[in-house]
C-alpha cells in the first residue's frame, strides 16, 4: 500500500470539504472501502452498493455530492461506467461513445437490436469501478 499517496488523497478531501463535513466522511468511507475490499468484489459498484458500503444511512444528496467529486479529475478515485437496461436484472454495458451519440442525437441505439430508443435516459444506468489511482495506491 502506498501510504504516502493515500494520505495525500485524504488530505485533499479535507482541504476541499472540511474534516467535519458529511461529504468528507462519505469520501473517506468510499475510499477506505475501495482500498480494503478484494479487487474482484469491486468490478461493478452500483450506487446502492456504495451506499451500503458507507453505512450509517447518509443522505442521497451527500452521496451524490461525494460520488461526482470522486469521479472527477481532482481526486479520480472512482471510474464511471454506463449500462442499458429495459428489463429487470438485464444490463448491457455501454461504451462512452454510445452514450455520447445518444446525448447528441436524442436517441440511443439499442446495443443488441440496433433499434433507436427514444426517452432513453431512464434506461441508462451508471455504475462505478475503482480508478487506476486506487490500483496505484494498492500496489
Amino acid at each position: 500500500m502506498n501510504q504516502k499517496l493515500k494520505e495525500q488523497i485524504i488530505t485533499r478531501f479535507a482541504e476541499d470539504w472540511g474534516r467535519k463535513s458529511p461529504q468528507y466522511e462519505v469520501c473517506v468511507k468510499i475510499f477506505d472501502y475501495l482500498l480494503s475490499r478484494p479487487i474482484n468484489q469491486l468490478k461493478h459498484l452500483t450506487y446502492g452498493s456504495l451506499k451500503n458500503a458507507i453505512g450509517d444511512n447518509p443522505s442521497d444528496t451527500d452521496i451524490l455530492k461525494a460520488t461526482q467529486y470522486l469521479c472527477g479529475d481532482r481526486t479520480p478515485v472512482l471510474s464511471l461506467h454506463f449500462e442499458f437496461s429495459d428489463k429487470e436484472d438485464e444490463f448491457i454495458y455501454l461504451e462512452y461513445d454510445e452514450v455520447r451519440w445518444a446525448k447528441s442525437t436524442g436517441k440511443l441505439v439499442h446495443p443488441v437490436t440496433g433499434e433507436d430508443i427514444d426517452n432513453y435516459e431512464d434506461k441508462v444506468f451508471m455504475f462505478f469501478t475503482p480508478s487506476p489511482l486506487i490500483s496505484e495506491i494498492r500496489s
Binding site: G48, Q68, V124
Partner: protein, 210 residues
Amino acid sequence: MHKDLKFNLESIKEFQSDVPGIGNFPDRMLAQTYEEFVSVLYKDIDRIVITMEKNPELRQNDSEDRLTIEIRGILEHSGYDATHEEKIGGHADLVVKKNDWLWIGEAKIHYDYGHLFKGFQQLSTRYSTGGSYNSQGGMLIYIFGAKAKIVMDTWKTHLKEKMGEDNLEFFECQANLLYFYSEHSHQRTGLAFKVRHIPFCLHFDPKDKK
C-alpha cells in the same frame, strides 16, 4: 429521500437543486474533445453565476480573489481539477485542467475598461498557450455597479478599439444575453483564441429602505 435511488441519467436530474452540478455530471465524464470539455465547463460556470448573483448583498465587500476562490471551490466540489493563482506564465486567476486540456479564466472587478483590457491581455498573451488544447478562455467580470448590460456593451466597444477591427470577431452567447464571445488570432500560435466574457451582476442598492 429515495430508499433505492435508481442511478440513471433521468433520476439524477431530480437532485439538481440539492447537488450543484449533478445534472452535468455525465456530460463532464463523457467529454472526449476539448470543445466538449469547455462546453460542459461553461454549463457549470453558468450555474455558479446564477448562484452567486442570488445574494449580491453578501458580496459587496468581496475582493476579486475571494470571489474567484469561491468559484474554484464550487468547481472542485463538482470534480474539476481547478486551481487559483497557479503559475502558468504568471499567476492565473482560475485554471481548469482535464488531461492535457486547459482552460484559463481571468477575473476582474469592473473599475474601468482599462483594467478589464489589462486582464484580457494577461489572459491572451501571458497565461494562455493558444494551442489546440487551450484554444478558449474566459473573462470573469465582477460588476458591482448598476446596468451590467451597458458595462458589457461598452466593454465590447473598448475591446474592439484596442484590438482593432481586423483582428477581432464577436459572437453572441446563446446561454445568456449579457455574455458574448470574442475571437482573435492568438499572438503565440496564430490559431483562433476564443474568449467567453462572463459578467457576474453583483449590484445591490435596494430603494425600499431609504
